[in-house]
């Protein structure tokens, strides 16, 4: 018996590697981003993750790689707040952002009841009941603005306009914090930063009544 007690002392230590607490204690948000290769899903999730860190939240993301980069489906999971697992379970996402309309059928089930679906589509798709659907024709906007590769930021801007963000609720951060994250990414100035910011603003403008 004495041996068992000694052994127990070795293994019953507190765990050292783990999750730290967030600034806005208690905030937990799960987001799923879905699209196809080349649309900038991974860029979008990193941008959001960096904004989360700047706001003082612990963050976990999980990406799919490999074959999916060749035009196949790309999904990214983003969990802001005190989580351990990098994956979002079905029925748990607060927000689903879809850059390719056909993916709505694939990833709709990640959304929690009462969650928000933001989708790049010319007409509002049918996503069943129990969720709020916000649709915008991001491709058409991007083409007419001459920024075909900024659909991701247009959708993000639109999402911010529709559901809000920051202390007031909605997104874990405010749109301004995304602007800051973009600015850090692009070294504070330059034509690429300007193009990214205007894509974001274009989306915001289209989501605001």
């Amino acid at each position: 018996m004495r041996r068992a007690v000694r052994v127990a002392l070795i293994f019953e230590r507190e765990h050292l590697v783990g999750v730290s607490g967030g600034k806005r204690n208690g905030l937990r948000q799960q987001v799923v981003l879905s699209g196809v290769g080349g649309q900038g899903i991974l860029f979008l999730s990193r941008l959001l993750a960096e904004a989360a860190i700047a706001c003082g939240f612990p963050v976990l993301t999980s990406e799919t790689h490999g074959m999916a980069q060749r035009g196949g489906v790309v999904v990214s999971h983003l969990k802001v707040g005190g989580f351990d697992s990098p994956l979002v379970r079905t029925g748990r996402a607060d927000l689903l952002l879809v850059l390719k309309e056909e993916n709505v059928a694939l990833h709709r089930e990640f959304l929690a009841d009462g969650g928000d679906l933001i989708v790049n589509a010319p007409i509002r798709p049918d996503a069943g009941s129990g969720v709020r659907v916000h649709a915008v024709d991001g491709d058409a906007l991007a083409l007419s603005a001459g920024v075909p590769h900024a659909v991701n930021l247009i959708l993000l801007g639109y999402a911010f306009a529709r559901i809000g963000g920051g202390e007031a609720g909605g997104f874990f951060c405010a749109a301004g914090e995304i602007r800051d994250a973009l600015s850090r990414r692009h070294g504070g100035s330059g034509s690429r930063l300007a193009a990214s910011l205007s894509a974001l603003d274009l989306g915001i403008a289209h989501g605001t009544w």
Binding site: A8, G38, H65, V73, P86, E102, P148
Partner: protein, 603 residues
């Protein structure tokens, strides 16, 4: 402003290695491990460390280079995916016997799922077979800290150590508090000891005994002992988990509110499992559930079958990824809670299949191959071009380099049945250097009859565009010697070796026909299809949307969509014709040659 930075698991592993004074790092790219080496190079530059960093020709060579640095007393690491460890298994098993003097870490990234791999194999089993201790991180942050622990363990016992992350660690990102870089002050000093470093079978026997002793000692090394993360109380049940399955379990323990009822242990060193931990488990708990990916490595070391449940007992699914939905179901059942009705993500199908990028020259090569050899057999290999399967120009994919040996094998088999069928094998440039050369030599000597098309886009595209021995650049962008592919092919004894641009479709089809004639009469013919990867050209700004137009002559026959499958050719069902997707079209113009009615034009 905090010091936390967002790091991908692979980036975190690289930071952990460089911070712990790794001096030599080598790798061959493979998903999900590919980003490790490029990150090592980035961190090396950032901290100004003197290191040797290289993309090796294959995993065996990479392991041998890093291992040698470690027997010269430096800290060294090699990284690869699990399938790459198969290629490197020969030196890996021997290195365990001979041991090391400097710390040596073998990073082998597994892919439960599998998301982008041929197999779901568990590298930890190979570590067990080799008698090499293995560390199993549960998150990017932990992977980073275990890189340093791994070096310490390796040096404490003079053995190689395996760090085994999985896709969900490698490609997860997290806010991480990065450790400072330790200035490395070691000098390479190889101490000659032929009895050890060139050991004959007699000594190997003794080395094996010594290795067994080391493993026994490592099974009580405090720094890697399992830890109960929810101490207190004396529950009758315990969950023992490792890797990302532990992360899922820890989160679910909170959500399900079962922390006071069940003990949760994290195992970071699944092999050798701490001996005292096994005793403790069996003395303390009536029921034990083991969660690990992919093989039952921990489970099989806990001997009492009546009390232990896991993959071996069928309580946990025997294959596939342990998704959090599955862990939720297992934990609920184990805790006696009602199992939630939520079903697993069925995804309503898998969505659109991946396809070669718009503007990818492989598409031209495959289209031409089917034109030139409509009744042919098409062995292929591992890379983006595996997607030629959609175009009907890839019939087999086995493992790195097998396109060449399988082409020869098909010819021998046909020959035995008195048949001759056209065989056109495809292999990428990186794969050719990796494992295509020995089988090519063999095929020439045996007089095999086939055409080998080397798809030379100057890069390892599939894994994120790492350089190849032909590209003349190194891991850090420095200029290196470049291998002359044509000269190499000729030196293998191939008499027909011609190079052409596959995007010039009609000429390329004619060249393939010529090569086929040669192969039927005189043996192996090699055609090098040379055109840079479209992603590389794309990044350099090479895109000309609006260059291609569909004329009114399009009759909706679908030939271009079904046989050429360029994602920028979109079939408009309502109008029964094709249109160009300007969001993605690169303007390469190859499709102009594909439409039988001439409805695709350069605008």
């Amino acid at each position: 402003m905090s010091d936390l930075i967002l790091m991908q698991g692979n980036d975190a592993i690289a930071r952990g290695l460089v911070a712990a004074g790794c001096a030599v790092a080598a790798s061959y790219p493979g998903t999900p491990a590919s980003e490790i080496l490029s990150s090592i190079d980035r961190w090396r530059k950032k901290c100004g460390a003197t290191m040797h960093v290289e993309w090796a020709v294959n995993e065996k060579v990479a392991l041998e280079i890093a291992y040698t640095a470690a027997i010269a007393g430096l800290r060294a690491a090699v990284s690869m995916k699990q399938v790459g460890l198969n290629v490197a298994s020969d030196p890996f098993l021997s290195a365990a016997y001979l041991g090391v003097t400097g710390g040596f870490l073998v990073v082998s990234a597994d892919d439960p799922g599998p998301h982008s791999s041929q197999t779901e194999q568990d590298s930890r089993l190979l570590a067990m077979m080799a008698k090499v201790p293995v560390l199993d991180p549960a998150s990017p942050a932990q992977a980073m800290s275990l890189a340093g622990t791994g070096f310490d363990l390796s040096e404490a016992f003079g053995v190689p150590v395996m760090l085994r992350p999985t896709t969900r660690v490698c490609h997860a990102s997290q806010d991480v508090d990065a450790p400072p870089f330790l200035p490395s002050v070691r000098e390479a000093r190889f101490v000659k000891d032929p009895a050890r470093w060139a050991a004959t079978p007699l000594f190997r026997r003794k080395l094996h005994d010594r290795l067994a002793e080391k493993i026994e000692a490592i099974a009580s090394w405090p720094a890697t002992a399992p830890i109960r993360v929810n101490p207190g109380g004396s529950p009758a049940k315990a969950v023992v988990a490792s890797g990302v399955a532990f992360s899922h379990a820890r989160e679910l323990f909170g959500e399900l509110g079962i922390s006071d009822r069940i003990a949760l242990y994290q195992v970071t060193q699944p092999y050798p499992l701490h001996a005292a931990f096994i005793d403790h488990l069996l003395e303390t708990y009536a029921e034990i559930l083991v969660l690990e990916e992919s093989a039952p490595v921990i489970e099989m070391q806990i001997a009492d079958r009546r009390r232990v449940r896991g993959r071996m007992t069928g309580a946990v699914p025997g294959t596939g990824e342990l998704l959090p939905e599955i862990v939720e179901r297992l934990l609920s059942r184990f805790a006696g809670l009602p199992v939630q009705g939520r079903t697993l993500s069925t995804g309503g199908g898998r969505g659109r299949r991946p396809t070669l990028c718009p503007g990818c020259a492989h598409r031209s090569s495959f289209y031409a191959i089917r034109k030139a050899a409509p009744a042919g057999i098409f062995p292929s290999d591992i890379g983006c071009y595996t997607l030629g399967i959609n175009l009907g120009a890839v019939d087999t994919v086995l493992c790195m380099g097998a396109a060449v040996s399988q082409a020869a094998g098909f010819d021998y088999a046909n020959r035995l049945s008195g048949k001759q069928v056209d065989i056109v094998a495809t292999i990428g440039d990186s794969t050719f250097y990796h494992a295509g050369i020995p089988p090519l030599i063999d095929a020439v000597v045996q007089g095999a009859r086939f055409v080998l098309v080397i798809l030379d886009n100057g890069t390892t595209a599939m894994t994120g565009n790492q350089p190849t021995p032909g590209s003349g650049i190194g891991a850090g962008g420095e200029i290196t010697a470049a291998i002359d592919m044509e000269g190499l092919v000729r030196a293998c004894g191939v008499s027909f070796c011609r190079t052409a641009n596959p995007d010039r479709l009609p000429e390329f089809v004619a060249l393939l026909k010529e090569a086929l004639v040669h192969s039927r009469e005189r043996g192996v013919a090699v055609v090098i299809a040379r055109q840079p990867c479209a992603m590389v050209a794309f990044a350099a700004g090479g895109r000309d949307p609006g260059a291609i137009a569909i004329t009114a002559e399009c009759n909706g026959c679908r030939h271009c969509v079904d046989r050429f499958e360029c994602p920028s050719l979109v079939f408009d069902e309502a109008a029964n014709r094709v249109r160009i997707d300007e969001m993605t079209c690169t303007g390469c113009g190859v499709c102009v040659h594909v439409c039988p009615t001439g409805a695709i034009r350069s605008a």
